[in-house]
Amino acid sequence: MSQLDYDKSKAIYKQIIEDFQKQLIRGTLNPGDKIPSQRDYALKVSVNPNTVQRAYQELERIGLTETIRGQGTFVKADTAMITEIRQEMADDILDRFFAEMNSLGYSKEQITEIVNHRLMEMKGAISND
């Protein structure tokens, strides 16, 4: 995340949390890793330090990180938690997808058809791990 690529019409602290969640899912951030200090992170993304503080507090509250006095903030989440977050994020995307398709008047059958068609097209372009 840098200054330019967050959505200015959504709460920024939530997007900071999502940024960390995505990093955990992708594996660019792993259990036990140290995350930047609030000040460094605020500077990196050019965001108000109070907003970063709110996001860091929330990360700790939901159990993704822990702060060790004098040492910094570390990733606490384990593999099971990360899998769960990944599932939740996927569910959110699907919810939005179905809601939008619904509002366009697509039936379940049509949605299945359209998704299958797209998957056929993407075959080979997407990895199946």
Binding site: I12, N50, R54
Partner: protein, 232 residues
């Protein structure tokens, strides 16, 4: 805390502030937004004790602004530095004037902002002059930092440097920064709380994050929306 209580101010036929009531809470970065002529500068100068309300009153931590000047570092929109000064001479002047001047901070920020003490104020670019003004204001350890249009007419890279200086230097909990600008887009992620003013009155105010959550709009869009409603 800074408080405006039904403040009115008129310049000739122009009502600059119209029964303006608001509170700037401590420990926040506050955006004072509005088009040119909305009353932003008048309000800022009033907090700095540089003009007086015709009616109502302004209080800084319960005191009149003129009695709280040592608490306020003000960056005015105008160029107040002498062109024949070097940055060092300007800093010496500020150092002799303000007891809360912090030399360590000054030296550190001088490097961070890529400025040099031998630069002549009258000979440097507009962006560099803006950075000098910022440096001289921020080098004081004042609890209130007032920045009047610190970004206007400045290139994008310098604007980013200015914003990052504020983020780097912001002392959470003990410092309050009030930044007036009509270039909201640049400070979307910088401000905690916002006040949109027009014709000397508040049109919309609130926490930036809550406004984004409840309205699903950026601050720029919220301001456009608010002003559209005012004009109808």
């Amino acid at each position: 805390m800074i408080e405006f209580d039904h403040v009115g101010k008129r310049f000739g036929s122009v009502q600059a502030l119209d029964q303006l009531s608001l509170q700037f809470g401590p420990g926040k970065i506050i955006g004072l937004f509005g088009p040119n002529g909305a009353g932003k500068s008048t309000a800022m100068k009033m907090i700095a004790g540089l003009n007086q309300p015709d009616s109502g009153h302004v209080l800084v931590d319960g005191q009149k602004p003129r009695q709280s000047r040592d608490k306020i570092a003000f960056l005015p929109e105008i160029d107040y530095l002498y062109g024949w000064w070097t940055l060092k001479q300007a800093a010496d002047f500020m150092r002799s004037f303000y007891a809360d001047w912090d030399d360590n901070k000054y030296t550190e920020l001088l490097g961070f902002l890529n400025l040099r003490e031998d630069m002549k104020i009258g000979k440097i670019s507009k962006g560099q002059r803006a950075k000098c003004k910022l440096l001289l204001t921020v080098s004081r350890r004042a609890p209130y930092l007032l920045l009047d249009e610190p970004l206007s007419g400045i290139d994008i890279l310098t604007r980013e440097e200015i914003i990052n200086t504020l983020i780097r230097d912001f002392r959470e909990g003990e410092q309050t920064i009030i930044i007036s600008t009509h270039e909201i887009n640049d400070v979307e992620s910088l401000v905690d709380e916002v006040f949109f003013i027009d014709q000397g009155r508040i049109v919309v105010s609130g926490s930036a994050e809550e406004l984004r959550i409840t309205q699903g709009l950026s601050l720029v869009e919220i301001m456009k929306e608010a002003f559209r409603n005012v004009q109808q």
